[in-house]
């Protein structure tokens, strides 16, 4: 492992953007069993942008509620605390990295599309196998490649070398990362998740989305994100930075017990929802 680069990342990780104060406050409230829907609603409505986004999201076909929801309290009651936290996390993460970096702007945008595709994929797979907390899957999918963004921001030159190697030899990005940097984006993603005090489950999924069978008690979640990653690459929803598809982990596939004929429905749902939700999350109207 090239410890010089990793040390540089660790040192710089102190400079990594923190989550907006409102989101941190909301996170605390959600973790506190004594909080009420009104407490949460008060914090959210203090922030106009979050309020508008939250209402847009709950009224999108992503949730498909039959009637429109016009108040934050209404949204909280319908979706629950955890879901609200995850939604806000989702939209804030998009802000954190937008327009910060010019050298790799094109890759940056495609990577976000890929992340969004993976998030939607994870959510849809979760729905088909009746996983309970699909918002968690959504956030995991969205953040699964965040390590690549961190590399892009903090190691721009080595990152260019990684991209060149990917292009010249047409290999997976993770292979090129190990060759050039000596480590890869799953480890970096985990470091960021720890810095942000995100739940252990989430940092675990980020760390093992390429080797879900090693994710221990979160093997189910890591397997879902692993499959979603493969599926959204197969239908070109954005780009993970390379033009290859990772190996399907056999243990992950067997664990999920997805029938091959369901795959077609999952992929079609992904295509449809991707085009539907893109504008909601990125705020492009």
């Amino acid at each position: 492992m090239d410890s010089k680069n990793l040390k540089r990342i660790i040192k710089n990780i102190e400079d990594l953007p923190t989550l907006p104060r409102t989101v941190l406050k909301i996170s605390e409230l959600v973790n506190n069993p004594k909080s009420s829907a009104r407490d949460l609603s008060n914090v959210i409505t203090d922030d106009q942008v979050l309020t508008v986004r939250l209402l847009k999201l709950v009224n999108s076909s992503f949730y498909g509620f039959p009637q429109s929801i016009s108040t934050i309290t209404g949204a909280i009651v319908l979706l629950g605390f955890d879901a609200i936290r995850n939604l806000l996390l989702t939209t804030s993460v998009f802000d954190l990295f937008s327009n910060r970096y010019r050298q790799h702007k094109d890759i940056h945008e495609k990577l976000w599309d890929h992340s969004l595709g993976c998030a939607i994929g994870a959510k849809i797979i979760g729905t088909y196998i009746r996983y309970e907390k699909i918002e968690e899957l959504f956030v995991s999918g969205l953040l699964h490649d965040i390590g690549k963004i961190v590399e892009m921001l903090f190691l721009p030159d080595p990152f260019s070398n990684v991209m060149n190697l990917v292009k010249n030899r047409n290999i997976l990005m993770i292979t090129a990362e190990v060759e050039v940097l000596g480590f890869s984006h799953p480890v970096v993603g985990k470091m960021l998740a720890e810095k942000w005090n995100l739940p252990l489950k989430l940092s675990n999924i980020l760390e093992y989305h390429h080797q879900p069978d090693q994710a221990g008690r979160y093997i189910h979640e890591a397997s879902i994100v692993h499959l979603a990653d493969i599926l959204c690459r197969s239908i070109d929803l954005g780009s993970g930075g390379d033009k290859k598809i990772p190996n399907l982990n056999q243990q992950a596939w067997e664990l999920l017990k997805i029938k091959p004929n369901v795959l077609e429905h999952i992929i079609q749902d992904m295509e449809r929802e991707f085009h539907d939700i893109n504008w909601v999350v990125t705020g492009k109207t």
Binding site: N170, I230, K243, K244
Partner: protein, 118 residues
């Protein structure tokens, strides 16, 4: 649209141009669907050719050729992309589904922007 010999005319075909006699008398208007009876009338007036709706065999086979080429290039790109994760029955299936979807996505786009190779 197609110019056909009256001998090839069949009931159900739709005229895209009006049919006149040699003396410029209108026999049938554009948009009329041909029946056995009016084909007989056209024949008795000595009409030899008519314009009907449809796609010529030439442009149809050109179209089929284009679509086959499209599918070939999609499949080729997918094979390269999946090269490291094959052979695996599940990945084969994912590749097949992705191929269908990418083709459909392309043809949808083409409807709005005209045919271009991917």
């Amino acid at each position: 649209m197609l110019l056909i010999n009256l001998d090839e005319a069949k009931p159900g075909m739709v005229l895209v141009k009006p049919v006149y006699t040699l003396q410029d008398v209108l026999l049938l208007k554009s948009g009329v669907q041909l029946s056995e009876k009016n084909i007989h009338v056209l024949r008795s007036w000595g009409i030899q050719e008519i314009w009907v709706e449809g796609v010529s065999d030439e442009s149809r086979s050109e179209r089929v050729k284009q679509e086959n080429e499209l599918r070939d290039s999609i499949d080729k790109a997918l094979r390269l992309k999946f090269s490291e994760s094959l052979p695996d029955p599940v990945m084969e299936e994912i590749m097949r589904i992705a191929g269908n979807l990418l083709e459909r996505r392309f043809l949808e786009k083409e409807k709005n922007h005209g045919f271009k190779k991917p």
